[in-house]
């Protein structure tokens, strides 16, 4: 699962690289690529969504360690669990807001101007990533409780 996600996010990175690289070349040789920015937005959203999941999966999010490093192991475990719980609350709030918007705009058939990239699909990807991140935090919390 993780490997698949990394390849998916990585291919999106490659697509972003290629899109903007060709756009620059195209502009300078007089063959501009119309809609390259819209394409970039779509692939950057995909890589960004995957990256949120990956950073949470690997617990790579930045934290201030000044006090936690000086805590006893028991207190540090408590601080870790608190951090996961607070993170879950924030991500759920974010997800609720994002789902609210997606539901509101569902009937509007939003799409990008030049290429007609469907925004509903982009919102779906982003919300799935958020939901996945929430699931990872729930799993981590459950594992912490079991310990």
């Amino acid at each position: 699962m993780k490997t698949t996600l990394i390849w998916l996010g990585g291919l999106a990175l490659l697509a972003a690289t290629l899109t903007d690289f060709l756009a620059v070349i195209g502009r300078h040789v007089g063959v501009p690529i119309n809609g390259s920015i819209e394409l970039m937005q779509a692939v950057v959203l995909l890589s960004g969504s995957v990256s949120l999941v990956m950073a949470t999966w690997d617990d790579a999010h930045a934290r201030v360690h000044l006090l936690t490093e000086r805590m006893t192991p028991a207190l540090r475990s408590f601080a870790d669990a608190l951090s996961d719980l607070v993170s879950l609350a924030f991500l759920l709030a974010l997800l609720s807001g994002s789902l609210w918007l997606a539901a509101d705009l569902w009937g509007g058939h939003e799409q990008s101007e030049l290429l007609g990239v469907p925004w509903a699909a982009l919102r779906l990807i982003a919300n799935l990533a958020l939901a996945g991140t929430c699931v990872l935090l729930v799993v981590r919390l459950a594992q912490g409780l079991r310990r």
Partner: protein, 436 residues
């Protein structure tokens, strides 16, 4: 908006500090205080919707494509051991002088800073290459570790810089202008470090003995290994500075050419590519979460009017430009003892940027100023992340010795920061000259 007062904002800032010190993820702490504050001020529905808007805007923001692509470029270069090649080239050119390897480390850090925007990564990668060589040549542990820990901070200032990209997004300032403005401060910072090495070696020549002079054939061979990287950097940074390409396009060109260079050196394997993807995604995710949180927090601070109130307060004190900026610097350095770099930037920018603008400084100047203050935090106890990274590399040296080694460089950092305040043209001259 009954609760939209500066008191509400100050309570939010206090809660934020408490959450950060309790070890809550930085992006989460910023975002949660932002959403909570907006819920108090505007109502829960508006807060949730605003958070949803910020989330989607951040993920689809074209300019933010700059960040993962520059990270991707850096990770491709990691996989081909570019840091070793850059240090080797500098060492072959300078290593025969007294303190030559220390100069080479600074040059290696500056060179590596042009392909990677992180202080920690620069310290770790250059440290792994340069530290053993310096010790082998009889350099004292203090100058070896101090030079690399301080030099590592160049990664944050010299474009492309992750910190400047993040600042550009949250302050809605041109990333290209920020990169252009960072060039002279980055170069002068490196020159300051070289000056420190020069003085230290003059005072005590035994700490950094001269080595053997490498013949020109070896020097050319070492330079031959980095010419393509140097050319790529020149095109990427030059293209942005001259306004030929946007930072996002430069990042894409950088990533594409890094892949081509790796392929030419026959190091673009499936495993190397996978590792570069994994590292890039992990670091991007970390920064995305922080940015989403910071943008929500900034909205909350904006709604409460705290920044305007702080600006009016400072203006009312009639301190003048220099004293005001010096005061901001002191606050940043004090907060930098508690918070790590990004948290410091994201917490203080919404409040301090309007104050700096109130006394006539531009957002671009402030971006360089706060990044410089952040860099000092990387080598400043008790946090001083670079010092701990350096200890991870130099396991035989105590943290106290490393701190002793970095002290002269830290002193030069304070002087450099003061010069940026006294002479803003150090920052603004190049962007003004190029009409950005």
């Amino acid at each position: 908006m009954i609760m939209a007062t500066t008191a509400t904002a100050l309570i939010g800032v206090a809660v934020l500090l408490a959450l950060l010190l309790a070890g809550v993820r930085i992006g989460v702490a910023l975002g949660l205080v932002g959403i909570g504050g907006l819920a108090v001020v505007l109502g829960p529905e508006a807060a949730a919707i605003k958070a949803g808007v910020v989330f989607m805007d951040t993920l689809t923001r074209y300019e933010l494509g700059t960040l993962p692509l520059f990270l991707f470029m850096a990770h491709v270069f990691f996989s081909i051991d570019a840091s070793r090649d850059l240090f080797d080239a500098a060492a072959k050119l300078l290593g025969h002088r007294r303190g030559g390897l220390a100069y080479a480390s600074i040059a290696g850090c500056a060179g590596f800073g042009t392909i990677n925007g992180s202080s920690l990564a620069t310290t770790a990668t250059v440290g792994l290459v340069a530290y053993p060589e310096m010790r082998r040549r009889g350099y004292a542990d203090t100058i070896s570790t101090g030079t690399i820990a301080a030099g590592g901070t160049l990664g944050q200032m010299i474009p492309p810089s992750g910190a400047l990209i993040v600042f550009g997004i949250i302050a809605e300032t041109s990333i290209g202008d920020l990169f252009t403005a960072a060039i002279i401060p980055g170069i002068t910072q490196a020159l300051f470090y070289a000056l420190v090495v020069f003085v230290l070696v003059r005072l005590n020549p035994a700490i950094a003995p001269a080595g053997e002079r490498a013949p020109w054939s070896e020097r050319w061979r070492a330079l031959g290994k980095v010419w393509d990287i140097a050319l790529l950097v020149a095109v990427v940074i030059g293209g942005i500075t001259m306004g030929w390409i946007s930072p996002s396009e430069a990042a894409a060109m950088g990533a594409a050419c890094a892949l081509a260079i790796a392929a030419r050196r026959r190091k673009l394997t499936r495993q190397a590519l996978f590792r570069a993807f994994e590292e890039t995604l992990r670091t991007s995710g970390l920064i995305y979460l922080i940015l989403i949180g910071a943008l929500i927090f900034a909205t909350f601070i904006g709604v409460t009017g705290l920044a305007d109130a702080a600006g009016a307060l400072v203006a009312g004190m009639g301190l003048g430009t220099f004293a005001t900026l010096a005061l901001l610097a002191v606050i940043l350095l004090l907060l930098g003892s508690l918070l790590d770099g990004l948290a410091l930037m994201l917490l203080t920018t919404p409040i301090m940027l309007p104050i700096a603008q109130e006394v006539g400084m531009s957002a671009v100047w402030f971006g360089i100023f706060i990044t410089r203050a952040m860099e000092i935090g990387f080598v400043h106890p008790p946090l001083g992340m670079n010092l701990y990274v350096m200890q991870g590399v130099a396991k035989d040296v105590s943290i106290g010795r490393i701190f002793r080694g970095v002290m002269p460089f830290l002193a030069s950092d304070f002087v450099h920061l003061a010069l940026l305040i006294l002479f803003p043209a150090i920052v603004m001259w190049l962007p003004d000259l190029l009409g950005n």
